[in-house]
């Protein structure tokens, strides 16, 4: 917080931020509008802003075979990815931040390198691997792939956030008798909570929206949302209201969860309270 107190300025800033949020929201609002009209009205120009919403698209999507199972699969796969990625990332990020050891930089850059390689070239060898292991069409194979894809980002981000908290805090706690584990988890980790939240959003969304691996690795039982959403593009055209509705349904839980998550994170105001 750089610190601006006057209420007039606060209001002005709120307006500017609000305008930015509205501009950002425009395509999403448009998407919502497209989902609430018939195909014919949705694409009409000029757009009818005061329209009576039609929910046909939503009922078509909900009742579509495979949509609800895919939604559940996505929830399971993304949540599992998040948990594993955060665990792995927190451990590695902490180590890379707090210790000086040989190979630390190599690990960081190797992790980055794996992320640089385009997934298009990785997907078939990975699929062949999973086939050989008998894991095709399994949520496990997907979670494994997604954890691998998101770990580099998690490591880099969490290391950065750990770096921002001085080790003195932990050292003080350890001097007071806490073990390193206790010091880390009770003192440092809560302080990087906003950073963990940001990382979580990217990891979860990264798994939630991933398309290429989902298409290649799943057929029936492990199918996730992006595949089902893409199915609304057919060989005689795009089902506009339905695909917009499906996408809105996919967006809603993540958006709501993010909003709710912020309630539980102190906005870092207590950072820097070095005792003594």
């Amino acid at each position: 917080m750089i610190g601006i107190k006057q209420s007039m300025t606060r209001i002005m800033l709120t307006i500017v931020a609000g305008a930015a949020a509205a501009a950002t929201l425009f395509p999403i609002v448009w998407m919502l509008m497209l989902s609430l009209k018939s195909h014919r009205d949705a694409l009409t120009l000029p757009p009818d802003l005061w329209f009576r919403p039609v929910f046909d698209a939503y009922s078509a999507v909900w009742s579509r075979a495979g949509f609800v199972p895919a939604l559940l699969n996505s929830l399971i796969v993304s949540s599992a990815t998040l948990v594993v990625c955060l665990t792995v990332g927190l451990l590695a990020g902490y180590a890379l931040s707090r210790y000086r050891f040989k190979g630390a930089n190599t690990i960081l850059f190797a992790a980055l390198a794996t992320r640089i390689f385009p997934p298009v070239a990785l997907v078939i060898p990975y699929y062949l691997n999973m086939q050989w292991l008998g894991l095709q069409d399994s949520k496990f194979a997907l979670v494994l792939a997604y954890v691998a894809m998101n770990t580099p980002l998690a490591i880099w981000m969490l290391k950065g956030y750990f770096d921002a908290i001085p080790p003195d805090l932990e050292n003080c706690a350890m001097v007071d008798g806490a073990s390193r584990w206790q010091a880390a988890t009770r003192v440092t980790v809560p302080l990087i909570a906003p950073g963990i939240a940001a990382t979580s959003v990217f990891v979860f969304v990264g798994a939630w929206n991933e398309f290429l691996f989902a298409i290649t690795l799943t057929s029936k039982s492990a199918r996730t949302l992006p595949t089902v959403i893409a199915e609304f593009i057919g060989d005689t055209g795009i089902e506009w209201p339905q695909i917009m509705a499906a996408s809105t349904i996919a967006l809603a839980p993540v958006l709501i969860a993010t909003f709710a998550l912020q309630r539980h994170i102190a906005a870092g105001m207590t950072a820097g309270a070095i005792k003594g």
């Binding site: 694409l43 078939i124 057929s219 199915e231 593009i233 005689t236 055209g237």
Partner: protein
């Protein structure tokens, strides 16, 4: 007592042992069909599959993939030599001799259990030959056409009537009609110029009826598209855009954009695939429902293979372990009654000619009259491993001509040189 018990026990055991394989076989009568949602929808979301199961006891498990990624997925399955899918839908868009190697040749199956109700002869020859390996009437059948379209002329009946001009028979007629209908914020024609296969095929639909081939048949190793008719078709498209008869945005239009342009009333006419007709007749999707007419596109006399046929075939995985059951299913779903059901109730593109003359089909499907005069002139699409690269080359040069940065004659000439180089 003991003996009788023992006897009964061993009799029971023997009986179950004998019956077990039959039970297992009975329980295991299921095949997996991989397809895309539109085809699955055409079967009434499985309605026809349930009928099939009731008739034969074979359960058909369906796995769907988005249309455009089905090719990717099949490729992965083939590379992995996976027997997971028994029956698959293959499209002309990714058909090639290389792909066909992974499918089971069907000629023996046809001999043992022929296609009912007229057999292969009931299908349009252009469509059947496309799926042969090699692509000649003597080639081995590798897939059965199931959902294939030919190109049709779609036009606004009211706007055409207002001009007083007849339906076009030549390319010049087409241009004249398009120009006459361009007014009051309506474009006379909409064309598809999106980069890639789309633009190439759209041009081809205007060139093929005048005798233009992509490649010289039957070897398919030399370009054959650089002919006066090919240049004329390209020049007309360039003109349409340059003179505003087609909206400038057409350069980026795919088929969904073109369909939308017509159904929103912004364009009056187009040559497109017959499978699209339901989109115009559905009031929820189209502002011009009931106002669209369908006819055979213009064609030069004497050209017997005139209208490019595109779409989907059904094939059997070469490493499937249930080939007989798969064939049973294919015979059923491609049979005349099922095709008629899918055509009349779900607007599916039919491939059997006998269905076109069925009374109920004619009553319920508005394009039936146009189809009757078009489908038998279906033109086979080429098939060679170099096809994707050929399409890319052509797309680049056609695109340059459309946007005016190259003259059509030069563009086609340059494309011809580059395509010929692909085969050396």
């Amino acid at each position: 007592m003991q003996d009788r018990r023992r006897f009964l026990a061993s009799a029971g055991a023997t009986a179950s042992a004998l019956a077990f394989p039959a039970i297992v076989r009975a329980q295991n009568r299921s095949i997996t069909w991989v397809t895309h949602p539109a085809i699955f929808g055409a079967t009434g979301d499985g309605e026809l599959l349930r009928q099939f199961e009731a008739k034969t006891g074979i359960k058909v498990e369906v796995v769907t993939f988005p249309t455009e990624t089905l090719a990717q997925r099949l490729q992965s399955e083939f590379v992995a030599r996976s027997p997971a899918f028994d029956v698959m839908n293959v499209a002309d868009a990714f058909w090639s001799p290389t792909f066909a190697r992974f499918l089971e040749p069907l000629d023996d199956m046809i001999k043992k259990a022929p296609l009912p109700n007229g057999g292969l002869e009931d299908f349009s020859p252009g469509m059947v030959d496309f799926f042969r390996l090699p692509q000649a009437s003597t080639g081995a059948v590798m897939a059965i056409p199931l959902r294939m379209s030919v190109s049709l002329l779609y036009y606004r009946k009211d706007l055409v009537a207002a001009t007083g001009l007849p339906l076009p028979k030549t390319l010049e007629d087409f241009g004249r009609l398009a120009k006459a209908m361009t007014r009051d914020g309506v474009n006379g024609v909409v064309i598809q110029g999106a980069q890639g296969q789309v633009a190439v095929l759209d041009w081809y639909e205007h060139a093929a009826p005048f005798g233009v081939d992509f490649l010289r048949m039957p070897e398919q190793r030399r370009a054959a598209f650089n002919t006066p008719a090919g240049v004329a078709a390209l020049e007309q498209r360039r003109q349409f855009i340059a003179e505003g008869i087609a909206d400038k945005g057409c350069i980026s239009y795919g088929f969904d954009d073109a369909i939308t342009a017509i159904s929103q009333g912004k364009a009056a006419m187009s040559v497109m695939f017959s499978a699209y007709w339901p989109r115009f007749e559905d009031v929820k999707q189209s502002k011009v429902a009931g106002q669209i007419g369908y006819a055979s596109p213009m064609r030069a006399d004497g050209v017997t293979q005139a209208y490019p046929a595109r779409g989907w075939g059904l094939a059997i995985n070469a490493v499937s372990q249930k080939k007989e059951m798969a064939w049973e299913f294919m015979r059923f779903i491609s049979d005349a009654p099922q095709q008629k059901w899918m055509g009349t109730n779900k607007g599916n593109a039919v491939t059997r000619l006998s269905v076109l003359s069925d009374a109920e089909f004619k009553a319920k499907v508005p394009i039936s009259a146009a189809l009757a005069s078009t489908q038998r002139y279906a033109k086979m699409m080429p098939s060679t491993p170099q096809l994707p690269r050929m399409y890319d080359t052509l797309s680049r040069h056609l695109g340059a001509a459309l946007s005016g940065s190259a003259r059509p004659a030069d563009a086609l000439k340059q494309a011809e040189t580059e395509v010929n180089a692909l085969f050396t």
